[in-house]
Amino acid sequence: MSFSWAKPYEPKNSFTRWIDDRLPLPRLVYGAIGGGYPVPRNLNYFWNFGVLAGLFLTIQIITGIVLAMWYFSSVDGAFNSVEHIMRDVNAGWLIRYAHMNGASFFFIVTYIHIFRGLYYGSYKAPRELVWMLGLVIYLLMMATAFMGYVLPWGQMSYWGAQVITGFFSAFPLIGEPMRVWLLGGYAPDQAALTRFFSLHYLLPFVIAAVTILHIWALHIPGSNNPTGVDVKDERDTLPFHPFYTAKDGWFAGLVLLVYALVTFFAPNYLGHPDNYIPANPLATPAHIVPEWYFWPFYAILRAFTVDFILPAKLWGVLAMFFSILLLFFLPWLDKSPVRSGSYRPVFKRFFWLLVADVILLGWAGGSEATPIVVAVSQIASAYYFLHFLVILPIVSALEKPLPLPNSISASVLHGEAEEAAPIGQTKRRGGSVATATAE
């Protein structure tokens, strides 16, 4: 940690001293999430969602490992093995529903976590790598979720696999061979199912490893905060334990309550009935849709309907991949020195427009592709690309941000301390004014 006032770890008894002398693991934990990690004191509840994502990853891993004890990855037996879990395995229905809805909740908290990052400029220097590692986690999550959905081998499982692997054939020359290689055959069949099971079991542990890197990269500069102003001294921070362990703890209880209500009382609400029909390679469902957390990307994919130099299908695939890829460039697209959207009135308006746009894309992706829905996805997709690639660079270069508080504790203390200084100029504490104050 780079904060000089961080409390160093002190083993409290001879047992912990014995461990610490041989393996500094308690010291590491203390410095990462214990009393030895200073965190800005002004974090709001949007900062809870990272921990919640970790919680849902844990829930998914535990329920998943248990499900794997009963799941049978054969094309003839997979569907029945899941139903066996639901009907005959002790508490099997609970574990299956928990895993199914855990995936949805994992995505819900992750999306809120991402949008927090977008609003408060958490992707800006010096946290660019934290942001990019986060995107890697997101990509791994999407791959894991996709493969997991195929495993029950229902109609949507099969046809979703057909569609998603079909993307690859859009690429000229190498596309179709790549698709056949991925599937181990010409259509999703036994080979695809077993390898998806193998990879679905593996990837969450890769996610866990990248998450550790993500947190490690974060802990070098420390957390961002709602003002976007850097931590200056001790008065700006509080130790993670007990302040943020308490805050994370109670809020996790609330989120778990919502999760439990969905899992126990509406477990199939976020899913699709067609996946309760065993897969039939000879009959396509009326409307193939992925799970809700993929809907915005599905809308972008379907928005490209004309051939223009490249075939429409290829445009769709390229746009879909690029819609996530461009996020890697965000720290360089938005170069405003001001981090937080709270102090960037123009940026703020476009941010909310983006949120509405993504929600609209989600609605369009989950709906049947009627002309109106397609038109909406076209406009919304266009806005999405323009937002990040054209609007943000221009806004960040031209806008006049609000004056920032001099420090976090200044903003916390409700203006009793320093007045705000113009960007780049701060007053020395207790000393004379270096430059004119902003009136």
């Binding site: 535990i62 248990v66 395995v89 002790n90 508490a91 703890g249 203390l413 009793e416 320093e418 004014v433």
Partner: protein, 194 residues
């Protein structure tokens, strides 16, 4: 403008001490209560994960098997599957019954009489698990022409355990007689095992 007075006003507290020893303990209690509740919840959440490992309803349903014994002649036996394990159902001849009853208990590693191993009035029906009590091989002797070993019962080729006509261990490394499962005669020609 920053003043020393301002700095003094920021009461930075890393651990709220409360109003003194009593206040501290009172505050601590709430925290301890909350953490304990969470702990109980976590353990309770783990319970289904462990419970699910037990046998599911369909395996429990197959815990009993009915066997038709009408076609087994004296001197013959059949091998059936019960709980995915082999069971030997043998119809003993009077000679085999006499042989079994003639053995003194002191000769037996695991002393049991034939009467103890069969149902009253049905001493000729010997129903035992077909699993050697040494390390679990399936002994020979139930099928026609199979090696019945030196004692005319069953013989395990893996390490040489030999069982007599009442399926009791006589020689070899096995410590116990072939297990007699729970069974009952549910009709003149049917036995329910398990």
């Amino acid at each position: 403008m920053a003043t020393k007075a301002q700095s003094a006003e920021v009461t930075e507290t890393t651990r709220p001490e409360g109003d003194g020893p009593d206040g501290y303990r009172r505050r601590d209690f709430l925290n301890v209560a909350a953490v304990s509740f969470a702990g109980v919840g976590a353990v309770a959440a783990l319970a289904p994960m462990l419970v699910q490992m037990g046998p599911p309803a369909d395996v429990l349903a197959l815990a009993s098997t009915e066997v038709d014994i009408s076609k087994i002649q004296p001197g013959q036996g059949i091998k059936v599957s019960w709980r995915k394990q082999p069971v030997f159902v043998r119809n003993l001849t009077p000679k085999e019954i006499a042989e079994a009853n003639a053995v003194p208990m002191s000769d037996l590693r695991d002393p049991q009489s034939l009467a103890e191993r069969t149902k009253p009035g049905k001493q000729n029906w010997l129903i035992t698990l077909g699993v050697c009590t040494h390390l679990g091989c399936v002994p020979l002797g139930i099928g026609e022409g199979e090696n019945r070993g030196p004692y005319g019962g069953y013989f395990c080729p893996c390490h040489g355990s030999a069982y007599d006509t009442a399926a009791r261990i006589r020689t070899g490394p096995a410590p116990l007689n072939l297990t007699v499962p729970e069974y009952e005669f549910t009709g003149p020609n049917t036995v329910q095992i398990g």
